[in-house]
């Protein structure tokens, strides 16, 4: 099972349940947002420290570029600042921020469509994309894995945007189908089917990689 980095589940409904925090003594995301609307710097810094790593990683993975991801993260939080006083307690703050990020990513993808196609590659000189590689792998094995990763990333880029978005929210952020449906404002069944379609599409696009050495089920690349 893929590792889940954290869920919004506890806070998806009305914000009356404590948001995703580890310490019950800490303020909830909704309380922090109210303070941010009043201009309290400490509350904003706490909110930022809670959500920036998660949202930043999502944006970097969605755009394939740390620089672009950082720019979009800044834009996302600017929108949070501007709309903090208008946030209504009908949903969770986390879902709302993810929705802002998703919209920014969609806009970015639209702009990219009009730009020359560029596949983020592990062979980029800046080494911006890490690969989880076991310590004991041979150079040949590493080379094959890199090529497979490049092919997988390219295959994901070719997926329809709605499938790609659901895949990102699921695999990167570990959100449930219900949470994703809340963020994207679609039925739960739609979120589930889009994820299935994305995975099957990736699998079909990469079926020629069946000659990759079998690693065994105990080998966890996560």
């Amino acid at each position: 099972m893929l590792a889940r980095s954290g869920t919004l589940e506890s806070s998806m409904h009305g914000g009356t349940v404590e948001d995703d925090i580890s310490n019950v003594c800490e303020p909830s995301d909704f309380d922090l947002l109210k303070d941010v609307a009043d201009g309290r710097e400490e509350s904003f810094r706490l909110l930022f420290s809670r959500w920036a790593p998660r949202l930043g990683r999502f944006l970097i993975r969605a755009t394939g570029s740390p620089e672009t991801g950082e720019d979009l993260l800044q834009e996302a939080f600017l929108r949070v600042l501007n709309a903090a006083d208008r946030f209504e307690k009908r949903g969770s703050v986390g879902a709302w921020m993810y929705r802002i990020c998703a919209n920014l990513v969609y806009s970015h993808w639209r702009r990219e469509r009009s730009s020359p196609f560029r596949t983020p590659s592990t062979t980029d000189g800046d080494g911006s994309i890490e690969m989880a590689t076991p310590v004991s792998e041979s150079p040949d094995r590493i080379r094959v894995r890199r090529a497979f990763t490049d092919a997988a990333v390219s295959a994901l880029k070719r997926c329809p945007e709605n499938q790609k978005m659901v895949f990102l929210l699921k695999v990167d952020s570990g959100l449930t189908y219900e949470e994703i449906a809340g963020i994207l404002r679609c039925p739960v069944g739609t979120a589930k089917s889009r994820f299935h379609l994305a995975v099957r599409r990736l699998r079909d696009d990469l079926k020629d990689w069946n000659d990759t050495p079998h690693e065994g089920r105990n080998h966890d690349v996560l």
Partner: protein, 211 residues
């Protein structure tokens, strides 16, 4: 359950969406079926490879920039806030308010009044001024007509000839003021001047009475 059915559950299993009981049964099946085990591994590998490991590096510059933006926003210095998509930030009310030359105004409250409230008050003020102006219309002779605004507007729309139209309004205005004088109760002992000439005649009458 057949392998085909189990494979339908593999994606949900990898996504962590399979129920506890089904997970146990599936795990058991995967230990017994090589084909399904290989399919599960293939799917897992694809899902992981499509999103290589990535971490967000803490960036203090971003945080400080946003903190400054927070203070700017709190000080209502909203011109400094640059947004890549201004349409996302402002709705129709904000855009109209800005076209009128103001973002918001303060009523001495802790936070400025939002633009849409200012816009609403401006619209009410304009409407009230329009209503007052048309219900207290001043004709070219400087006479305040007692005609309701609607009747005046109807006159204007009916008259296409500017000169004759003006003459008509003048005549009507005089008749109306004369009629208004006559309509006051004769025994009231109170007279009001509705035209400058009335005011002069009333003043003369007052002077002659008192003297």
């Amino acid at each position: 359950m057949s392998c085909e059915k189990w494979r339908e559950h593999l994606i949900d299993h990898l996504a962590g969406e399979l129920g506890e009981e089904e997970t146990i049964l599936l795990e058991q099946h995967l230990t017994e079926c090589t084909d399904c085990s290989e399919e599960e591994l293939r799917l897992r590998r694809v899902m992981v490879a499509a999103l290589p490991t990535q971490t967000w590096q803490e960036n203090k510059a971003t945080e400080e920039y946003l903190v400054n933006a927070l203070h700017d926003l709190d000080g209502d210095n909203s011109e400094e806030m640059e947004f890549s998509s201004s349409s996302e930030r402002s709705g129709l009310a904000d855009r109209i308010a800005r076209s009128l030359g103001f973002e918001s105004f303060s009523l001495g409250l802790k936070r400025p009044v939002p633009s849409y409230l200012a816009l609403g008050l401006a619209i009410v003020a304009v409407a009230a001024g329009f209503w007052w102006g048309t219900s207290n219309r001043i004709d070219l002779q400087g006479n305040r007509s007692a005609q309701p605004a609607r009747e005046i507007q109807q006159e204007e729309s009916l008259s296409n000839d500017g000169a004759s139209g003006l003459a008509e309004r003048h005549a009507v205005g005089e008749d109306s003021s004369a009629a208004s004088l006559k309509s006051w109760p004769s025994g009231a002992g109170i007279r009001f001047a509705t035209t400058p000439s009335d005011a002069i005649s009333l003043a003369r009458a007052f002077m002659s009475d008192t003297l």
